[in-house]
């Protein structure tokens, strides 16, 4: 063990990465390879009235142009990722969830739901020609009212994002322990606040990209994708193209950063393999930065309305939270972020009365997927804001409010009274959070900081 534990171990990938000999998806070449470029929606919500590809088709060097109607009935739409959406029976019983199925055509057929949604794909000799052709494709839209505010999206009569649903609330659940209602009645004070985390786009330095090579002799697809989820991609190529998983090999080569958006399955990861089979030629597609900003999946975008019951000494008796996740046009990941948020909110604090309702709402934005922390950073922020706001109200140091409410070492194992997403009880097995806090405060010289702050305040600067 001493060979590794406590030792600085050299990374095996460094040599190739510092010498420029790594192999990222854009570096992969194959004989006869052609390049794909996507035509994307310039509207957030619109009907597609017509697509004129005639001029583009006439351009020299163009091999294929596909629109949604060309693949209707051939490529199945992308649907929610079952392995991430399945809930154990005891959790279902405890939180009474509703999850409506939602989906996305890999090329929009009748209407577009967000800016950047793929509408057509052009394959040409190289990317320059493919982009020339893409520019010549004329899409005729009839615009619909755009819904970008999740509260407006929930209003009766709001335009439907997914037309097969009754309304735009795609999922909801309720998790509770103790009696938050009673705590709100008993407390000295009640804090009411709206705490939001913004929508973010992740932007790894390497954009997404797919190369697919179809071997005719064995009817095998070898797909390279700059992805965090190669097996998920294999599953969804198989489902969408009616293939067996054994016919597909997905390789994630050197990946130039992921951070979440490369953790979903995107339409391009289905279409590029299909094209390589159709054209009997290797096909490459490399996303550009603009495409990444609009079409690669986003994350976060939570709005929490909290009511916090607390006493004059800073003790938090209970939290009631109703939160909304604006998931954009599609939610592929069920309650992944939502329930992670719900069961992590209280973090290191002992708050026995806790009641959370969540609604996942669809809007005309890029679909959300989990980014780093998958719902947890959002609620760490919510809880920190709660601590700060209580401290401000009581004119106390936030650290004192933290100390007052922390789970103590002697409380371990500590049962939070609710379930984890896999159905197990949320029991913290060990830990000395107060000691960790004190250590952290010492490391940053918190007391010294407060003293200097007071000095400067006195000086009025």
């Amino acid at each position: 063990m001493t060979k590794y534990v406590g030792q600085s171990v050299k990374r095996k990938e460094d040599y190739r990465l510092v010498t420029g000999t790594g192999q990222f998806v854009g570096d992969i070449r194959a004989a006869n390879m052609v390049e794909a470029v996507f035509v994307r929606s310039t509207h957030a919500h619109a009907a597609i009235k017509g697509i004129d590809i005639s001029e583009a088709q006439a351009l020299e060097g163009v091999h294929a142009i596909l629109t949604g109607m060309d693949i209707d009935g051939i490529i199945k739409p992308l649907v929610q990722f079952e392995s991430h959406c399945a809930l154990p029976a005891n959790l279902e019983e405890a939180i009474n969830p509703t999850i409506h199925y939602c989906y996305e055509d890999v090329l929009a057929k009748n209407k577009v739901m967000y800016v950047g949604q793929p509408i057509a794909v052009v394959v040409a000799e190289n990317r320059y020609v493919a982009e020339d052709a893409a520019d010549l494709i004329k899409v005729e839209y009839m615009t619909f009212p755009v819904v970008v505010d999740p509260f407006k999206s929930m209003e009766k009569g709001a335009p439907l994002i997914q037309e097969h649903l009754q309304n735009n609330v795609q999922a909801d659940f309720h998790v509770t322990t103790g009696n938050a209602g009673q705590a709100l009645k008993d407390a000295d004070h009640i804090l009411k606040a709206r705490i939001q985390t913004p929508r973010v786009s992740s932007n790894p330095l390497e954009t997404r990209g797919v190369v697919s090579i179809h071997e005719n002799r064995t009817d095998q697809l070898h797909v390279y994708s700059s992805t965090q989820l190669p097996f998920e991609i294999r599953t969804y190529i198989a489902r969408s193209l009616d293939l067996a998983e054994q016919q597909i090999r997905v390789t994630a080569p050197d990946v130039g950063g992921g951070f979440g958006p490369k953790g979903g399955v995107h339409p391009e990861e289905i279409l590029v393999p299909y094209l390589s089979k159709l054209l009997k030629r290797p096909v490459k597609w490399i996303e550009d930065r603009l495409e990444h900003l609009t079409s690669a999946r986003h994350s976060r975008d939570q709005i929490h309305d909290v009511e916090v019951a607390y006493n004059l000494d800073g003790t938090i008796l209970g939290i009631k939270d109703h939160f909304i996740i604006d998931s954009g046009a599609v939610n592929y990941f069920g309650l992944t972020c939502a329930y992670n948020s719900a069961y992590h909110l209280r973090g290191a604090y002992k708050i026995p009365n806790y009641d959370v309702t969540c609604q996942i709402v669809l809007t005309n934005k890029t679909p959300n997927v989990p980014f780093r922390g998958a719902g947890r950073p959002e609620v760490v922020f919510v809880m920190d804001r709660i601590i700060d706001m209580i401290a401000r109200k009581l004119k106390k140091d936030p650290v004192d409010v933290m100390r007052k409410n922390m789970i103590q070492a002697e409380d371990m194992p500590y049962d939070q009274g609710i379930l984890v997403k896999d159905g197990a009880k949320l029991i913290y097995d060990s830990g000395d959070y107060p000691a960790a806090l004190e250590q952290g405060l010492k490391m940053v010289d918190y007391e010294g900081f407060r003293e200097r702050q007071n000095e400067l305040k006195k000086q009025g600067s």
């Binding site: 050299k10 990374r11 510092v18 330095l205 390497e206 050197d254 951070f259």
Partner: protein
């Protein structure tokens, strides 16, 4: 589209090719010369991943056309390695200091920094920070890159 004949030197080798006038230098290097160490992150001169040397100066190859490099001397990340296959002092310093994680931005940083160190053998931290301010890294953070640049500068001065 009519081709334009260009002659240039890339990593010490004379190159003569006919290219489309609109071909980006970054695409020429990657697609025509197959030097895929030069990475493309944004294609509008923001991220610095495609940085190469043109006549000794660090430039963003996505903001230059291949035809503009006619008559120039170009160096890419592939030129840094020593003849015996060992890493050069800067590459070694990046590896020693964990100055890279995914490695996608790394070639750009190496080219920016190697040109900088040629003119500043003993840079202070502020100068290093300024030097790398045009290159984006998303994984590792910049602290270890700064450490690596300091180590490389010291190796040279020793």
């Amino acid at each position: 589209m009519d081709g334009v004949k260009i002659n240039l030197k890339v990593n010490g080798q004379d190159i003569s090719r006919e290219v489309d006038a609109r071909l980006l230098l970054s695409d020429f290097i990657r697609e025509n010369l197959l030097l895929t160490g030069t990475h493309i992150g944004c294609e509008h001169g923001v991220c610095g991943a495609c940085t190469i040397h043109v006549n000794g100066d660090p430039v963003r190859s996505c903001l230059m056309l291949a035809v503009q490099a006619d008559g120039c001397e170009v160096k890419t990340v592939e030129s840094l390695i020593q003849e015996n296959g060992d890493l050069n002092h800067l590459q070694q310093a990046f590896s020693d200091n964990h100055a890279l994680q995914c490695g996608f931005c790394t070639p750009g940083f190496l080219m920016t920094v190697s040109s900088f160190l040629e003119e500043n053998s003993n840079p202070c931290e502020a100068e290093i920070r300024k030097c790398i301010s045009g290159n984006l890294c998303r994984c590792t953070g910049y602290s270890n890159i700064i450490k690596a640049v300091k180590q490389a500068a010291q190796t040279v001065s020793n």
